[in-house]
Every structure is written in structure tokens, then in C-alpha cells.
């Protein structure tokens, strides 16, 4: 993990009890970690911490998760950064461990995305007549696929029709895909 000199300096500031009181440190840690569990993305702090300090701590957290740092590695990194107050280290590590899985999830999502298929809906119609055909009697499926557009929260729909034969083909293909899951499950079990 490589950190900029600004971040290194900020961690030295965290170690300075006259600059940042225990009470302020507690609030800072609590508010920063709460970012991952609340929907509110704004931090409002009672004291006048500068934004740089907040961003430095966040960067440090993300780097630790990114490189899969455990407690020992984090402590040794803190020591390198001359952030040595034991109680403050403990407080940080406690919150870090508590929120680790959610931060991992958050970082995983910050990746390259495709549109995501969320659900499907279907309808079965019987086509009887058109302006060019008097006797049709053909079943037709209307499918509606719900997707979330990549990098957004927009929900979109794709509608299309399928004859009975093409729906059969579509289902067979999806079942083929699904069978991969069973194969994987089986392989896992036999390896155990």
C-alpha cells in the first residue's frame, strides 16, 4: 500500500491529542464508518475537521480492504505512519472489523458493470385475426425483462414476443446455463 505524503501527515495529526481530542476522534471514527451503513452520504461533524482529514481516513480504509489487510498489518502500518496511540488504533480496528464485509461489498460493486437482469414477467396471448389473416389461432408469449441500467439506478424494461417454439428454445438454453450451477455444486461436494 502506498499513501501520499498528505495522508501520512494526517495520520500524524491523528496521533496528536492536543490537536484532536479523544472526544473528537471518537466522533470522527464513528461518523466515517457510519457512511457504509447509512443511506446518508454527508458527514456533519461538530468540530471543524477539515475535509482532507476525512478523505485521508477513507482512503486508508479503502486501501486496507483492497489489499486485504488484517489487524496485524494495519497496526504495523499505523506504526509506520507514527499513529501509535493504542486506544485510538483499537477504536479504528474495532470499527474496521465490524464494517469489513459491507466495505468489501461496496468496493466490489465499484467495478465494471453490465446491465443487470432483475426479473421477468410474461403473458400468454392467443392471436386470432389480423388485417391480413382471418384464421390464425396462434399462441404468442409476450415477455417483459426488467433490468437495471449499468452504473445507474434506472430501471428499464425490454418487451418482446416469442412463439411457443422460440420460448421453448429460450428455456432450453437457460436451463443449459442453469445446469452449470448443479455441475459446480457437484464438483464442490466431490472435492470435499
Amino acid at each position: 500500500m502506498e499513501l501520499s505524503s498528505d495522508i501520512e501527515e494526517d495520520f500524524r495529526r491523528l496521533n496528536n491529542q492536543t490537536h484532536i481530542s479523544d472526544k473528537n476522534y471518537e466522533e470522527l471514527i464513528q461518523k466515517i464508518f457510519s457512511l457504509f451503513t447509512s443511506t446518508n452520504s454527508n458527514i456533519e461533524l461538530s468540530s471543524s475537521f477539515d475535509k482532507r482529514l476525512v478523505s485521508s481516513i477513507l482512503t486508508f480504509i479503502f486501501e486496507c480492504v483492497k489489499y486485504d489487510f488484517d489487524e496485524t498489518l494495519i497496526r504495523s502500518k499505523f506504526d509506520d505512519l507514527q499513529f501509535t496511540i493504542k486506544t485510538r488504533q483499537d477504536r479504528f480496528i474495532n470499527e474496521y472489523n465490524k464494517n469489513l464485509s459491507i466495505i468489501q461489498l461496496y468496493l466490489k460493486q465499484k467495478s465494471i458493470e453490465y446491465d443487470r437482469l432483475l426479473n421477468i414477467n410474461w403473458r400468454l396471448d392467443l392471436q386470432l385475426k389480423t388485417n391480413y389473416t382471418d384464421k390464425l389461432l396462434q399462441p404468442i408469449y409476450i415477455l417483459d425483462w426488467t433490468k437495471r441500467d449499468k452504473y445507474t439506478t434506472n430501471i428499464d424494461h425490454i418487451q418482446f414476443s416469442c412463439t411457443q417454439e422460440s420460448l421453448q428454445e429460450l428455456v432450453e438454453k437457460l436451463k443449459d446455463a442453469q445446469s452449470v450451477l448443479h455441475q459446480m455444486q457437484y464438483q464442490q461436494q466431490t472435492k470435499k
Partner: protein, 209 residues
């Protein structure tokens, strides 16, 4: 026109236009029926219509309207999916001779399937429809933002190709689907397939047949 008792009932104007075939030589009438059938796929050829009119010593416009009516008649037969017997009876109402009726029916039957397909698929109102689906199974194991060894996220990528109803253009959609969603989708589509085999659907199909 109506299809009562499966017969084609023509209005007087159509009958008058098609009556020309009763007035000319039988073999010439058969030729016109054949030529009209050809025009269904190629479009009307003004030059050969003029030649035929000159040959029969008839007014070009009269031959042309007769051919138009024959084209209309072929199309109506396909639209109603008429049976040979019903067609024969309908042609009797036009006063056509046995040989002419037989020739017309043979002509129609040689193209009936193609005509019906054109009417049901090419010309009819059509929504975007399914063409193809490709799938791929991947596992995400590392990303720029997380290089930890704990990543193992299986997912499917589906590439769905649709065809637009009216201009035949392809639409391609690529999705990521997680395994549980895929299982759910397969379940739902199987339910949809089964719906067509149940008594309710069968009863309704039977009612309209």
C-alpha cells in the same frame, strides 16, 4: 366480402371484373391465371400485360383490372385459408368452367403456403421478437478496487438478440444475471410454457378452432 360457410362471396363489381375469363378462350384464361400468380411475387409487369391485351384484342385497362382482381382473389383465399372444395364452389359462382376452376385451384395451391406465411409474418403487425440467446458463465475474482483473495462472485452473462417487427433490424442486449435470478427466471418461463398445456388453454383453442 364475407366467408360465410367458408365460401368466398364476391361483390358485383369484383364479379364483373373477373367475368372476363368467361368471355375469352379457355386456354388464354388459364394463361392469365398463371401470369397473375407470377405477379404476386414479382409485381405487375405493364409490358407483358399490354402484350397479352393486344394478343387477345382487348383493352389494356380491362385486362389489367382483371389481373388485379385475380391477385386480390388469390390473397383472399390465403387470408381465409380456404379449402379446395370451398374454393371450387366459390369459383362455380363465378361461372368458371371445370378446367378453368381446376387450373386456378392448382395455381393457388402451389403458392398457398408461401402466401399465408407472407400474410401472417411479413405483413402483420409485429412486435420485436426473439431471435437468439447466448450465455456465458463467469466468476469475478479480482477488480481494480479490490484485490483481496476473497472475491469469488459467479454470474451469467446473457446476450439476447431481438428482431424489430417492421424493419427486421436486430437489437442486441447484454445482461449480467446472478445465479439465483437465473433459477427464478427459468422457473417462471417453465410455468409460462405449461400454461399452454392446461385445460383452460386447450378449451379456448378448441372454441376458436
Amino acid at each position: 366480402m364475407s366467408t360465410t360457410s367458408s365460401l368466398l362471396l364476391l361483390d358485383d363489381e369484383r364479379k364483373a371484373q373477373l367475368d372476363l375469363l368467361n368471355k375469352i378462350d379457355e386456354s388464354a384464361a388459364v394463361d392469365i391465371c398463371n401470369a397473375a400468380l407470377g405477379y404476386l411475387s414479382t409485381g405487375l409487369n405493364t409490358k407483358s400485360v399490354t402484350n397479352a391485351a393486344n394478343h387477345l384484342q382487348l383493352d389494356v385497362e380491362i385486362v389489367r383490372t382483371t389481373i388485379d382482381s385475380l391477385l386480390w382473389l388469390y390473397t383472399e383465399c390465403a387470408k381465409a385459408k380456404i379449402s379446395s372444395d370451398a374454393l371450387d364452389e366459390s369459383l362455380k359462382l363465378l361461372g368458371y368452367s371445370t378446367q378453368l376452376r381446376q387450373s386456378f385451384i392448382e395455381c393457388y395451391q402451389s403458392k398457398a403456403h408461401q402466401l399465408q406465411t407472407t400474410l401472417t409474418t411479413d405483413l402483420a403487425l409485429s412486435l420485436p421478437h426473439y431471435k437468439n440467446l447466448y450465455w456465458r458463465f463467469d466468476v469475478q475474482i479480482a477488480t481494480r478496487s479490490m484485490r483481496s483473495r476473497k472475491q469469488f462472485d459467479p454470474f451469467f452473462i446473457l446476450k439476447l438478440t431481438l428482431i424489430n417487427g417492421n424493419n427486421d433490424k436486430e437489437q442486441v442486449h447484454v445482461f449480467q444475471v446472478d445465479p439465483l435470478t437465473l433459477v427464478h427466471i427459468v422457473e417462471q418461463l417453465e410455468l409460462a410454457m405449461n400454461e399452454l398445456r392446461n385445460n383452460h388453454a386447450r378449451r379456448i383453442v378448441h372454441t376458436f378452432r
